[in-house]
């Protein structure tokens, strides 16, 4: 880390450093030092609550979400609200969604929800929407325009073909490496809604978009991908400061495309390999990404976690907090115009645990 960026971190990140002993991730949106408009929010994603039978659920995934909720409640300063990034459930069963929401009900603060494919494909989101409301919406908070999209839709013909059961359709979608998998998309209807929604937003207003899948193309084989990503990006590019936060990939990813900064969330359930480790296919991991350490399977919370977001100057600094892996801060650097990993090894060379193969 250069002297300048270290000073910047100390100046802007005092609260972050204090909180970074917690395994969590926070996002800060700030308007400059000392501004009353600065705020933080927490971001929890991908819990994959799995029903075994009756009241029995997979212990490991329960524990990840329980831990994230407990740690979020310890944040000081208290985040203004919490985002949940999708995939509460593994197979979208009402019992799984209910059990996940029961754990999330322990959060002190308002929660905004994003739809994941594991919540959706059994009943096309009916139960989720019944419990949580619309799957795409926007709101304003302290001068920032927040937009939530349902980015895990796919071809209408595939979704509405004659399935024997909704669970059969879910199981097709729930398999990440399904060779006959379908690509995620936001779709024309939501893109039209977004175009209309953004009409009332000033070009200098910071925008934060939340989606489950990356609104960029990284690896289609695992749906680290949204088919109409470029069309959604085009709607966002006219604005000066845009951040896209997404789940689904269960790992740290960082990117900058034009005016749009991208940050992925870790899962509370389990980590995923980076796509390049599947040697049979090409993938496109953004160069700005500093990969998280290789997970140690013997520590079941390793490489899982959550994030808090610190918003300042309308930019997002994302703190990734991991129980058994190095905590990370990826902050927007105005001097280079993109997010930069603030840990020393981002610039001083990669440590062995960062080398995935």
């Amino acid at each position: 880390m250069s002297r300048t960026s270290r000073r910047e971190l100390l100046r802007h990140g005092g609260a972050l450093l204090a909180a970074s002993s917690l395994p969590l991730s926070v996002v800060e949106v700030a308007y400059g030092q000392g501004s009353e408009q600065n705020f933080t929010f927490a971001y929890i994603s991908d819990s994959h609550i799995t029903q075994v039978k009756g009241n029995e659920f997979v212990r490991n995934w329960d524990r990840g979400l329980i831990r994230a909720v407990a740690e979020t409640n310890l944040l000081d300063p208290k985040p203004d609200f919490i985002f949940y990034g999708g995939d509460i459930a593994q197979l979208g069963k009402p019992a799984e969604i209910d059990h996940g929401l029961e754990i999330l009900a322990g959060l002190s603060g308002d929660v905004h929800y994003v739809m994941g494919e594991h919540d959706y494909y059994v009943d096309l989101g009916d139960y989720w929407r019944k419990q949580l409301g619309p799957d795409h919406y926007s709101f304003d908070h302290k001068g920032v325009h927040f937009v939530v999209l349902n980015s895990i839709l796919t071809h209408e013909a595939w979704m509405h073909q004659k399935w024997e059961t909704g669970m059969q359709r879910m199981k097709q979608m729930a398999r990440l490496d399904n060779p006959s998998g379908q690509p995620f998309m936001v779709g024309e209807a939501q893109r039209n809604w977004l175009r209309k929604d953004l009409r009332k937003v000033k070009k200098e207003t910071p925008i934060v978009v939340l989606s489950h899948s990356p609104l960029q193309k990284i690896y289609k084989g695992w749906n680290f991908w949204t088919d109409d990503a470029e069309q959604v990006q085009a709607l966002l590019q006219p604005f000066g400061k845009v951040t896209v936060l997404y789940g689904h990939v269960h790992q740290i990813q960082t990117n900058q495309i034009g005016n749009i900064s991208f940050h992925a969330a870790m899962a509370t359930a389990w980590p995923w390999p980076y796509p390049a480790t599947y040697r049979q296919q090409n993938s496109y991991l953004p160069k700005l990404t500093v990969e998280m350490n290789r997970a140690d399977p013997f520590f079941e919370r390793d490489a899982t976690g959550w994030q808090f977001i610190d918003m300042h100057s309308g930019r997002t600094d994302v703190s990734y907090l991991l129980p058994d892996n190095a905590n990370r801060v990826v902050a927007f650097d105005e001097s280079v115009g993109h997010p930069v990993d603030q840990t020393d090894y981002a610039e001083a060379g990669r440590k062995s645990p960062l080398q995935h193969y």
Binding site: H48, T50, V52, V58, N60, R175, L176, D177, G221, W222, W270, P271, W272, P273, P275, T277, Y278, R279, Q280, R294, A295, D296, P297, F298, E300, H356, Y357
Partner: protein, 137 residues
């Protein structure tokens, strides 16, 4: 070799030399054989692919592919290796058994269990072309 057997072996060799029908020799195979052997192998790979994607029937329903899509991050080419968490050198099948007992919360399989062979066939097939590096962490 007794005399009787020696005479018989000599006469078989003599028959083969004059081009008459003779038993298949151990090192004789043709494309049809290769195709059949590949089919046999791929059938086991496919069985492994099913087991890997939820086919093990473990009560908690957690499947291998949830953490390892396309068997990525399993590193079959690095085994046997010193598995520092276990404190000894292990083969890939022992790590698979570790996964069965821990995240999958089920019984381990015997080393020669066809299911364990099939899982290894699938995992290794997905990693085909990667250089062998036993011992690499």
């Amino acid at each position: 070799m007794n005399l009787k057997i020696k005479i018989r072996a000599t006469s078989i060799a003599a028959i083969c030399l004059v081009g008459l029908s003779c038993p298949v020799l151990a090192d004789e195979f043709d494309n049809a054989d290769l195709e059949r052997w590949q089919m046999e192998y791929m059938a086991v790979v496919e069985e492994g692919e099913k087991l890997f994607h939820g086919g093990l029937g473990n009560p908690n329903t957690v499947s291998c592919d949830q953490c390892h899509p396309n068997a990525a991050n399993t590193h079959p080419e690095t085994y046997p290796k010193f598995q520092q968490q276990l404190g000894r050198v292990v083969a890939l099948w022992e790590m698979i058994n570790w996964c069965l007992q821990n995240p999958l919360e089920t019984e381990m399989l015997a080393a020669d269990d066809p299911k364990l062979i099939a899982l290894q066939a699938y995992i290794t097939e997905e990693r085909k072309g990667v250089e062998l590096e036993p011992g690499k962490h």
